[in-house]
């Protein structure tokens, strides 16, 4: 056990109770450290939260998770923290379906079934499909690090010639990470496939909030302290060493270590004073590109609804195959030009969650345009994927990029931290800035992992890094 500080000082303060902050908090508290997590929202979870409206429960942003196979990082961490026993986790099959006017292919839980389905749809690429999926399923190997400068387009061109197949394999990445294959990092694309599309569709019964609440409970059982509605305003530094944080409610709180699970841009440009940061690093952060945000529709459905697609599966739909055009439209928040959408009918078919990539605009823009966007998205879904949808809607609400910003303070409502482009992969110093002692970052703004399994990976690594240093300090 690591020795706890006896005074008012914490061993570690974590900023942000998203999944990354909670996982990191659990590991540090479990090791005996005195840990405080400050979260600005009134509930834990960040993008992994749910909300209730009457009889309906909606997942706010994250709507399932991946990497829960036998040696997957999510399972490893849930088992180590013993939260696997407290959750009832199911898996949808198929977790994902890709739909266009000409094709319907699914990612099944059985890899061979997935390969066969792609081979039937694209017989001219039969052998290449097998090689590609086997490559994806073995992507744990160190050898994939050589893809660091490749785009996902480079990787697809290496394996395939059929342009429609390339577009179909890129569609879920555009829908989730908001990048076309010509910009998406091949390395991160492969991680999305291996950790999410090929090993995804896991869901905690009761909603995604169950995951966050269970982690928060576990953190408290380990002796951690969680303060909700507690906005951090500053990270204090003396002699290039962090000394604590300043919150809106409680003023200065001293701590030996600070772990920021919030937006890296905010950490360096707002929470820290400019003169404490290396100038080159500061300018680098300022020029980095965030991932795109989303527009999300939450629909409550009546009991007469007969789902045209399997309940629980994410359906990625596109009307066309020009993903660069779709990307440019998403950048302008142009639903018509984007020409696609993703949706999931809930397990009990009482709700539908529909999502499209959308650019950040200010509050006034969304106040004026949110209802029109929502109606337009419902109309598009009704025309292409769920005929008669509007007759069954009994409740509707939407989240805009501004809403996502407001609840999580992620820069420009970014859904996946920094954009997953090759030049932003593994930016040195983002997990542990070399010019400041005792400051660590975790979560999807460290450019090392995105999505729930990605932030679990980073937070597991960051906690290991901290605990190794702590143990060496005691020894």
């Amino acid at each position: 056990m690591l020795k706890k500080q006896s005074s008012e000082e914490y061993d570690a303060i974590i900023i942000g109770a998203g999944i990354g902050g909670l996982v990191c908090g659990c590991y540090l508290a479990k090791a005996g450290m005195k840990v405080l997590i400050c979260e600005q929202h009134y509930k834990p979870g960040g993008y992994c939260t749910s909300f209730r409206r009457g009889a309906f429960v909606f997942d706010a942003a994250a709507d399932c998770f991946g990497a829960y196979r036998k040696d997957g990082i999510t399972r490893k961490v849930f088992e180590e923290l013993e939260i696997d026993k407290k959750l009832n986790i199911i898996r949808f099959d198929p977790p994902s379906i890709i739909l266009t006017p000409d094709y319907r292919v699914s990612f099944w839980n059985d890899l061979e079934k997935t390969i066969e389905e792609f081979q039937t749809a694209f017989p001219d690429e039969r052998d290449n499909i097998k090689k590609f999926f086997y490559f994806l399923s073995n992507s744990g190997a160190i050898s994939i690090s050589k893809l660091r400068n490749w785009t996902f387009k480079n990787l697809l061109d290496y394996y395939f010639t059929n342009d429609r197949l390339k577009a179909i394999l890129s569609l879920p990445l555009l829908a989730m990470a908001g990048l076309p294959p010509s910009l998406m990092s091949a390395f991160m694309g492969v991680k999305f496939f291996s950790e999410f599309f090929l090993d995804g569709g896991y869901y905690p019964i009761g909603g995604m909030q169950m995951l966050s609440d269970t982690l928060a409970e576990r953190f408290k059982e380990f002796g951690g302290e969680l303060r909700l509605s507690s906005l951090v305003k500053k990270i204090r530094v003396r002699d290039n060493k962090v000394t604590g944080i300043v919150t809106e409610n409680d003023g200065f709180i001293p701590s030996r270590l600070v772990v920021s699970n919030c937006d890296a841009r905010q950490t360096f440009l707002k929470l820290l004073s400019k003169e404490k940061i290396e100038r080159g690093f500061y300018n680098g952060i300022k020029n980095m590109m965030p991932s795109i945000s989303n527009f999300i529709a939450y629909l409550g459905i009546n009991k007469q609804f007969k789902p045209p697609q399997p309940q629980g599966s994410a359906v990625f739909f596109s009307q066309h195959y020009d993903l660069d055009r779709a990307y440019r439209s998403a950048q302008k928040s142009d639903i018509d030009g984007y020409g696609g959408h993703t949706f999931r009918i809930s397990r009990d078919k009482s709700t539908i969650y529909a999502i499209i990539p959308a650019a950040f605009k200010n509050r006034t823009f969304w106040n004026n345009n949110k209802p029109r966007f929502l109606e337009s998205l419902i109309e598009k879904i009704e025309k292409s994927t769920i005929p008669g949808l509007s007759e069954h809607i009994v409740y509707k609400e939407a989240a805009t990029p501004y809403t996502l910003y407001r609840y999580t303070l992620n820069y420009k409502g970014a859904s996946y931290g920094w954009a997953s482009i090759p030049s932003q992969l593994a930016v040195p110093g983002l997990r542990k800035p070399p010019f400041l002692q005792n400051l660590y970052l975790t979560g999807h703004w460290t450019t090392l992992g995105v999505g729930i399994s990605g932030v679990i990976y980073v937070s597991h690594e960051t906690s290991k890094l901290i605990l190794k240093k702590e143990r060496n300090m005691i020894l």
């Binding site: 893809l147 660091r148 490749w150 390395f187 992969l425 992992g449 605990l467």
Partner: protein
């Protein structure tokens, strides 16, 4: 010069893996002994490039598995840079 390079490389690997510099020897295997995976291999590569202002070929990334290999690669690249200058 190589001793200086070795010290810098050990410091980078220590920062990324959390292992103390004293635990990292020239022959220590990054993957087997320091829990380096494909993501950390890229982190180490990018940090080496930035520190020594060199450009490492993609196909060499998975082959940097010990401090010794990293020192050899960095020294060669620095020598080439010196020759070309």
């Amino acid at each position: 010069m190589e001793n200086g390079i070795e010290r810098e490389i050990i410091s980078i690997v220590s920062d990324i893996t959390g292992f103390e510099p004293e635990e990292i020897k020239p022959e220590t295997n990054f993957m087997k002994d320091l829990e380096v995976d494909s993501i950390k291999a890229i982190e180490i590569t990018v940090a080496l490039e930035k520190k020594f202002k060199i450009s490492i070929r993609d196909e060499d990334v998975p082959n940097i598995m010990t401090v010794k290999q990293a020192v050899e690669l960095v020294s060669n690249l620095l020598n080439q840079k010196g020759t070309n200058a």
